[in-house]
Symmetry: C2
Subunit: 239 residues, 2 copies
Amino acid sequence: MQQPDHLQYLGMRDDIAARIAAGELKPGERLPSERQLQAGGGVSRGTIREALFQLEGEGVIYRKDRSGWYVSPPPVVYDPTRWEGFMSYVEAQGRRPLTETLSKVEIACDGMLAQIFSRPVGAPMYWIRRRRSIDGRAVLIESIVVDASLAPGLIEHDLDGSLTSVLKTVYGIDVARNKVDMRPCALIREEAEALRVKSGLPGLNLERTCYNAQGRVVEFDREYWRHDALKVSVDIRVR
Amino acid sequence: MQQPDHLQYLGMRDDIAARIAAGELKPGERLPSERQLQAGGGVSRGTIREALFQLEGEGVIYRKDRSGWYVSPPPVVYDPTRWEGFMSYVEAQGRRPLTETLSKVEIACDGMLAQIFSRPVGAPMYWIRRRRSIDGRAVLIESIVVDASLAPGLIEHDLDGSLTSVLKTVYGIDVARNKVDMRPCALIREEAEALRVKSGLPGLNLERTCYNAQGRVVEFDREYWRHDALKVSVDIRVR
DNA sequence: ATGGGATTTTGGTATAGACCAGATGAAATG
DNA sequence: CATTTCATCTGGTCTATACCAAAATCCCAT
């Protein structure tokens, strides 16, 4: 669309990116404030901010509202085909995972869920909303729906750990097939709010439908990830 | 991060989104110019633009440089596990695909490629760069590397169609396994330039390593998609 | 040390204006 | 009719300023 040459904000972006790449600023560290960055060259704050937005889009830095801009930590690698919980694979990568259950309620199956689960409208379902963090930074919001007839009493358990292991050890539920849909999205409204990011931050929307060996839908999961927090890796045999 | 209530740009975003949802503006149509939108309410152009950026992030609208803002067409569904070419599945979804070969050259295997292909440094490789469009809009840029010893003379062929079918019909190459990495990214520099989008537009970076039945790497593919052009759908058996 | 309240700093939102370069379309030209 | 030329419209960049709300910090009283 344009040549990087004469555009000030692209120049500043490259300057800051170079300082980070050189290790002058390390992951988790705060950048100088916008007004300080501005002081250096005779440039307006809007231009500085445009440069910061570029780096944010590239996942190099992120912001904490009204606190400052920080250097991003590396993303975690996530394989949606592996039925290991978030807790295990984040820990396996040397990071500190945290899960918070925002809500867990029993609901009646509506039209959309009826179709997904092949269950009658009105059938009991559990609806769980969780927020998950890595090294203290909220990285994803998920909405999980589980067929209550397969896991009665599920929401009485502590779900701040691995839902996977609860389903397996308590209810003997094994997942045999996964259908995963992925779509780049923008984090807005509830998702942005819960992740405490500015509306419009790029994200990844991940929907997973889990089937047991009999082909029955056990769980439907909708996740919203910050764009800079993950890398998806799938290893598959071609059909 | 904030309540949508009192923020002007979120209000305007919702207004415009509602007009699109109501069918007042249809996919492909141009929105009124920023200065026209501004004329309506006593609001500055910067605020209008912030509202448009939100909608762009959500994939509702897109821009053509210095031409205007347009309503986005629906995304195409893409299954990286299916070894059908872009041309076929885009057409199957009732859209008009186009492939342009930007360059095709023979190169010597460098360190990174040597590792990926398990071939000696200096081994001959073909490097192909293509741009692909849907209904006249460029949606992805790809860089393909193919082991030249498996497909000698490949770049003499016309590659504006399906590379898949050339590999299969001319060289008898079948792909048995795919390793796919996906990562939200920002489209910048060459990618932004080639897709004619503003630097920093959200995108999806997709890397695919293709193995034949003997486990040898046949092809390495790096794709950069516009964020609003696709939805990835994978159906997998859990390991 | 600890807690609490005031102050400062930070990014977030919004305004108004200016100029530019590419896209567009109409008018002039062959 | 096709082509070129030119004025206009469009989004893209940049400046300068103002005010707000939340976060961070400091300082004082306990």
